[in-house]
């Protein structure tokens, strides 16, 4: 079992007083709160910090932990073994009911029994106002983010998700279980939208229904498209002679290639709109557009023949001053 250094987790010295512990906890809780932080392991950190605080804020638990910290043996692999008979004194507390010890580490359970702690009971989002021992209540909703490529969101797709769920077994003990779901995602989902898998959240207690699984859609970065609301943005490079003379080019859209007419005398930054080639959005609403921004692109080196042509061009266009804005 991995030893948890609660002092290190909270970033406080061993002799820290309760107010130092509390203020450090509050700071870290804000930093790692999964609803605030964008960090990948935020939830894990947040739980660890909460567990450390549950132990260190409580004089009795802290004393017990300190003793164990001194007496327990560290194994060669960095693991930790509590002194003999340590577990026996506490193992009679079953983790009963939802929001029980499922959120705490095995290390915590081995010291304090699977009794859960005040922190996560109070913090367990879905059960705040419900009596812990009430016979029936609805299981918690589970929240997840799911990253889709733009094409997958547009066309719909099937995705496999693995999640770990805590469920009470037939004896009422909380057990963790890995669950694999194949989810069919409908076409036309948008960034930030939620899709709901009814009954796929945590199991209810008694006659209570299971919670839902809520998936928040995120778009993975695309190599050349960007998304702004329902519009899809594309930067389209063209050569300076294509810009000057006008041309017809092939441009990618989310639903395949289209012919796009670049008008004569086009310039960098000019925008062209391809109607209806954006994202569809809600049913019954008008689809977005694809907005193409032109960008004049030049070869990195020129042949001497081309240079001569440029020289000629500079003479023909002698009146053109691209920096006229700097002149009063």
């Amino acid at each position: 079992m991995e030893f948890k250094d609660y002092y290190k987790i909270l970033g406080v010295p061993e002799q820290a007083d309760v107010s130092t512990i509390k203020s450090s906890y509050r700071k870290l809780a804000r930093k790692y709160h999964p609803d605030v932080s964008k960090e990948k392991d935020a939830e894990q950190h947040f739980k660890e910090v909460g567990e450390a605080y549950t132990v260190l804020k409580d004089a009795e638990k802290r004393a017990e932990y300190d003793m164990l910290r001194q007496q327990g043996t560290r194994q060669a692999d960095g693991g930790f073994r509590p002194p003999p008979n340590w577990q026996n004194a506490h193992a009679d507390n079953g983790g009963f009911g939802p929001g029980g010890s499922g959120d705490f580490s095995d290390f915590f359970d081995s010291i304090f029994g699977a009794q859960g702690g005040g922190f996560h009971q109070a913090g367990g989002s879905a059960h705040r106002s419900q009596s812990h021992h009430s016979a029936n209540h609805r299981g918690r909703d589970i929240h997840h983010k799911i990253a889709l490529f733009l094409e997958e969101a547009y066309e719909g797709c099937q995705r496999q998700l693995s999640l770990r769920v805590s469920e009470p077994d037939e004896n009422g003990f909380i057990r963790q279980r890995d669950k694999v779901l194949n989810v069919k995602i409908p076409a036309g989902v948008m960034q930030g939208q939620h899709i709901r898998l009814a009954g796929q959240g945590e199991a209810g207690v008694g006659e209570g229904k299971a919670g839902d699984l809520l998936l928040e859609i995120e778009f993975a970065p695309h190599p050349y498209f960007a998304v702004d609301g329902k519009n899809i943005l594309l930067t389209l490079p063209i050569s300076c002679w294509e810009a000057a003379l006008g041309t017809s080019v092939e441009a990618p859209t989310i639903s395949g290639k289209v012919k796009l007419k670049v008008p004569k005398g086009a310039n960098s930054g000019n925008k062209l709109r391809i109607k209806g080639k954006g994202l569809v959005g809600k049913t019954g609403e008008k689809a977005g557009d694809q907005i193409v921004t032109l960008q004049v692109s030049l070869p990195t080196s020129h042949s001497s023949e081309a240079e001569a042509l440029y020289q000629k061009l500079s003479e023909c266009e002698a009146d053109f001053n691209p920096r006229h804005v700097f002149e009063g």
């Binding site: 809780a29 605030v36 909460g50 779901l181 409908p186 939208q193 709901r196 809520l214 960007a226 930067t235």
Partner: protein, 107 residues
Amino acid sequence: MSKSEIVVIESTLSEHRLFTLEEVCERCGSHTDIIIEMIEYGIVEPIERPSPTIWHFNTQAVVRLQRAQRLMDELELNLSGVALSLELLDKIDDLQNHIAVLKSQLP
């Protein structure tokens, strides 16, 4: 830990299901008064259908209210703190999205 299982599920778009105030309270683990206060603080807007006295909420709103309740419980914020945090977090999301759009336009 038991063996894993594989199920194929059809998901539904959030707009297709509306929740009543009671359902929202159950899903957030919140008291009705708190949810009403959250609405007064502008954290979400209920859909006033079929009449202004009957409220319904879409999934987006439920998710936001759950988030608000978690922030209240776990960071000990009061309602105006929660409302402010959510607004600022939204603003950060918008700005980050905007940066991504601008970055994609750079040569």
